[in-house]
């Protein structure tokens, strides 16, 4: 099982190497590229070595290891403290100090420190997470190699720091691996804090006041979660509870209410759930690869990871129901708000928040089928969202805007990028693509819990239908003649888009296999039962997919030669060019067609306030329910 250690340590080593040698551009590029390949292939090797998805434990006989973890903990805390103090952030400073105090009391408070026999482990769920981190993360890093020079070209005001940028990203990936393989809660906490730190560094990368502000916002909200997490550790230490994830999961739910709740609150912050969702929107200021990374394979996925882990404890509890309500409320409100957004990245951000809400909901409902849906959602969301961010980043470079309205007719201007975005969007909401498969499973699963959950999902998913469809429509519709695109798309960007598109489509064909190979063993190990798939449904879904892929072939039908191309209907006011019409007071006017944003109906501010109020009330209810 050295591969696990390798997966954790290799990115860390890469981070160090790039930090040391990254001054040389060529060398750095080569290093980053090789590194991304190794990370992705390493994850795949893991699959090959452990095809059955058996749970395996890693034991270490090194007594200094725990002390090293503690040392690193202190180091990370110190770095955070320096950042907070130098940034004159009083709240953040207070939070860091609070967290340090909690950890100090845990470690040095004279409690019998729980010994964890196997601090690292691997089961089929961590393998799925490892693939997401490795394959998608690797592709994003590969993309970043091509993207970053463009980025600096378009943003000359941003000081170059690609060396530290790539080092941080590798550190991030290493921390994510550590997070999903940790069985020891202290180790998990360390990885948790490192991801917080890395996200701060990456968000503040542009060095603008806005970036700085948003980075501190992210830090503040995530530190809130960090403090909660540290509180959970202290509670466990005081009550002599287990420190091993595997033991916590197997213990009686009633005895674990407080620590589980605290860690779940930490999960809420990381998964950008309301009322902690603001940081994810702010994180858009960072370059595209960072957004792609934060939204798809890392960071937010760390948040939902703990929920899925704790799912058996949350099943059939009031706490679980309340947390599920927070998730579903986030889903509903974020989906509705996304309708009013025209900035592509904000739409993606709200959609991420919404989908994570759905994952949280499923995990908190916690029955086998719901967890099955949650894991499928994690997989499909990671792939499709990474693809969307990367494709939108490319589109932004070639059209000079990230506004959806400016993507009009992208299908003619940049067919490949447009196709990638279309596949990504289809992957996010259309039958029979992944997210829809999962949503279908989610609704079935949530029906076994309280009906208010699936009802809210039904409303939320109709809202997603609206904003995704109009975006697709915008890309497909051509009103003006295509203006020449500026700026080429780099090879690396194309590769990443191609592979992620392939993955998005391929995964929908392959999901029954993923389900039976990876998710089923996990559920069996957790619950002793698993979900059986309806064969007819799979056949229908597959044939729908085949049809969607085959439909473009109908364009080759030769009867279409008889087609007469004419002008669009403009009430008879057409002028020869298709985007002009005879205007009032003489002359001609260009046509402009814009999508609906329904900004009064789905007002961002009002809905955000409503969502915040609802989720804060739910949090308060949680505190009332869970008394230590």
């Amino acid at each position: 099982m050295n591969i696990v250690l390798f997966l954790i340590l290799f990115p860390l080593a890469m981070a160090g190497l790039i930090a040391l040698l990254g001054g040389h551009v060529g060398l750095r590029t080569a290093l980053v590229k090789i590194g991304s390949g190794v990370v992705a292939i390493g994850a795949l090797v893991l699959l090959a070595l452990n095809l059955q998805g058996e749970t395996q434990w890693l034991r270490f006989d090194w007594p200094w290891l725990q002390k090293a973890v503690l040392g690193l903990d202190i180091l990370v805390t110190l770095i955070l403290l320096v950042i907070a103090v130098r940034g004159r952030q009083i709240t953040v400073t207070a939070l860091v100090i609070a967290q340090a105090a909690l950890i100090g009391m845990t470690e040095f408070g004279g409690h019998a420190h729980a010994h964890v026999e196997a601090p690292l482990f691997i089961d089929s769920f961590s393998m799925i997470m490892a693939h997401i981190v490795g394959v998608i993360g690797g592709l994003i890093v590969w993309h970043a190699v091509g993207y970053m020079p463009h980025y600096h070209h378009h943003h000359p005001e941003v000081p170059g720091g690609q060396r530290w940028f790539f080092a941080t990203i590798y550190l991030f990936l290493g921390a994510m691996y550590a997070l999903v393989f940790s069985n020891h809660l202290s180790w998990l906490f360390l990885a948790w804090e490192v991801t917080t730190l890395c996200s701060f560094l990456l968000i503040s990368y542009p060095r603008t006041p806005e970036a700085r502000h948003n980075a501190f916002l992210a830090l503040r909200l995530n530190m809130l979660g960090g403090v909660a997490f540290a509180g959970a550790l202290l509670y466990l230490a005081k009550t002599g509870g287990p420190f091993a994830l595997s033991e916590i999961i197997r213990s009686a739910p009633a005895s674990m209410l407080v620590p589980v709740l605290l860690i779940c609150v930490a999960g809420l912050t990381k998964a950008a759930q309301m009322p902690f969702s603001a940081w994810l929107l702010g994180a858009m200021v960072a370059p595209t690869p960072v957004s792609a990374l934060l939204h798809s394979s890392t960071m937010v996925k760390a948040g939902v990871y703990v929920f899925v882990r704790f799912a058996p404890l949350l099943q059939n509890t009031v706490m679980g129901l309340l947390l599920a309500l927070i998730g579903v409320t986030t889903f509903l409100f974020a989906s509705c708000i996304a309708i009013s957004q025209s900035n592509a990245k904000r739409v993606l951000a709200y959609s991420t928040i919404a989908n994570l809400g759905l994952i949280v909901t499923c995990a908190c409902v916690g029955n086998p089928q719901a967890v099955w849906a949650a894991i499928l959602l994690i997989i499909f969301h990671a792939v499709a969202k990474a693809l969307l961010f990367i494709a939108v980043g490319s589109a932004e470079h070639s059209i000079g805007s990230r506004d959806i309205e400016d993507m009009e007719g992208l299908i003619e201007r940049r067919p490949k990028t447009a196709l990638a975005i279309l596949i990504g969007i289809a992957g996010m909401f259309l039958a029979p693509f992944g997210m829809l498969v999962s949503k279908w499973a989610a609704i079935e699963a949530l029906m076994k819990s309280h009906p208010i959950l699936p009802v809210m999902v039904a409303f939320g998913s109709s809202a997603t239908l609206f904003f995704w469809s109009k975006w697709m429509g915008k890309i497909l519709s051509t009103v003006k003649g295509p203006p020449p695109p500026h700026g080429p798309v780099s090879m690396e960007e194309k590769n990443a888009m191609f592979f992620l598109s392939l993955l998005t489509v391929g995964l929908c064909a392959a999901w029954p296999f993923i389900s039976s190979l990876s998710i089923k063993p996990f559920l069996l190990s957790y619950y002793g039962t698993a979900v059986e798939l309806n064969r007819v449904t799979i056949v229908i879904m597959s044939s729908m997919l085949a049809l969607i892929v085959a439909l473009p072939l109908s364009l080759l039908y030769k009867g279409e030669k008889k087609l007469r191309i004419t002008t669009p209907y403009l009430s008879g006011a057409n002028v020869l060019e298709r985007d002009l019409f005879t205007a009032s007071i003489g002359g001609t006017k260009p046509l402009a067609i814009r999508s609906y944003y329904l900004t009064e109906f789905f007002a961002e501010g009002r809905l955000t306030r409503m969502g915040l109020a609802a989720t804060i009330a739910l949090l308060a209810a949680l505190v009332m329910v869970v008394k230590p």
Binding site: I443, F459, S461, L465, S469, Y569
Partner: protein
């Protein structure tokens, strides 16, 4: 349901649905005309129109728009087939939504203002009607313990008795789906509309015929949804469906077209009250009154 039955049911739907829906459209037009003190067209008029449209010249704004219409037709048929072979209700609803999205994309692709506005309005209507459809599937699930149409179909008890809210909600949403006033925002069977023909503005001849055909398939599928409420008593079901359809025609003839805000708000509220209310009541009843 075994394979032979399933194939037969699918074939029957593919062949019989347009015939049935066409006749229904004919009756609809005659009844509407009578309500307006007119004689109205012959019963077979919808078929004359359809076949005529297939014979018209093919014109289009660009070479891609109509490709999406094929998707509209195909996925609507798939939704219907999945329904009538007794498949998963949620898949039916998603396939239906997929078909509608294809339709909308086709209209967007035309890049013409009126079809664009029509497409946006169609999306609003989709957003308005979708929750109720999903909720009705949930209602069937709570009542019968299954999402499979086959299981729901073969239940001996009359579902309308325990799902009256769902039925009312579906009838409400049916008005949107059938493009009847006051909810004929995106396009209308009548001529005078502020956005011309809305979503169908740019589609003519055979392409318009495809849209009409898909709409017919959709109509029968939705009526099938309503049939489920009365499944054990087919005669009552036919009677109820006739009454519902008449009600839709009546609503069409006694209402002005409303604003999109009103359509969206009212159908979401109606869904939340009738649909979700029904669901929650059922949930607590099934748990013996204890929350």
């Amino acid at each position: 349901m075994n394979l032979t039955h399933a194939i037969l049911a699918a074939l029957l739907y593919i062949v019989a649905a347009p015939v049935l829906a066409g006749l229904l459209a004919g009756v609809d037009r005659i009844i509407s005309a009578r309500m307006q003190a007119r004689i109205g067209p012959p019963l077979l008029q919808p078929f004359y129109d359809l076949f005529k449209l297939f014979q018209k010249e093919r014109i289009a704004v660009n070479k891609t728009g109509h490709f999406f219409l094929l998707g509209y037709l195909l996925f609507t048929i798939i939704a219907g087939v999945e329904f009538f072979i007794g498949g998963d209700l949620l898949i039916v609803i998603f396939a239906l939504a997929l078909g509608s999205v294809f339709f909308v994309l086709g209209a967007f692709a035309a890049g013409s203002p009126y079809s664009h506005i029509g497409a946006e309005r169609e999306l609003i209507q989709l957003m308005a009607s979708e929750p109720m459809l999903i909720l009705s599937a949930m209602g069937f699930y709570v009542a019968t313990g299954s999402f499979q149409v086959h299981d729901i179909w073969s239940r001996p008890d009359l579902l309308i008795v325990i799902l009256p809210g769902m039925f009312a909600g579906l009838v409400y949403v049916l008005t949107i789906k059938l493009r009847k006033s006051p909810f004929d925002l995106a396009t209308s069977h009548h001529a005078h509309q502020e956005i011309v023909k809305g979503i169908t503005t740019e589609f003519s001849g055979p392409y318009l015929a495809v849209i009409e055909l898909a709409h017919w398939y959709e109509t029968i599928l939705l009526l099938g949804f309503l049939y489920l409420f009365f499944a054990p008593w087919p005669w009552l079901a036919v009677l109820a469906l006739a009454a519902v359809y008449f009600l839709e025609i009546l609503a069409d003839n006694t209402n002005a077209r409303l604003y999109w805000q009103w359509v969206l708000r009212s159908s979401w509220i109606f869904t939340a009250v009738a649909g979700a209310g029904n669901l929650v009541v059922l949930y607590y009843l099934s748990r013996g009154g204890t929350p």
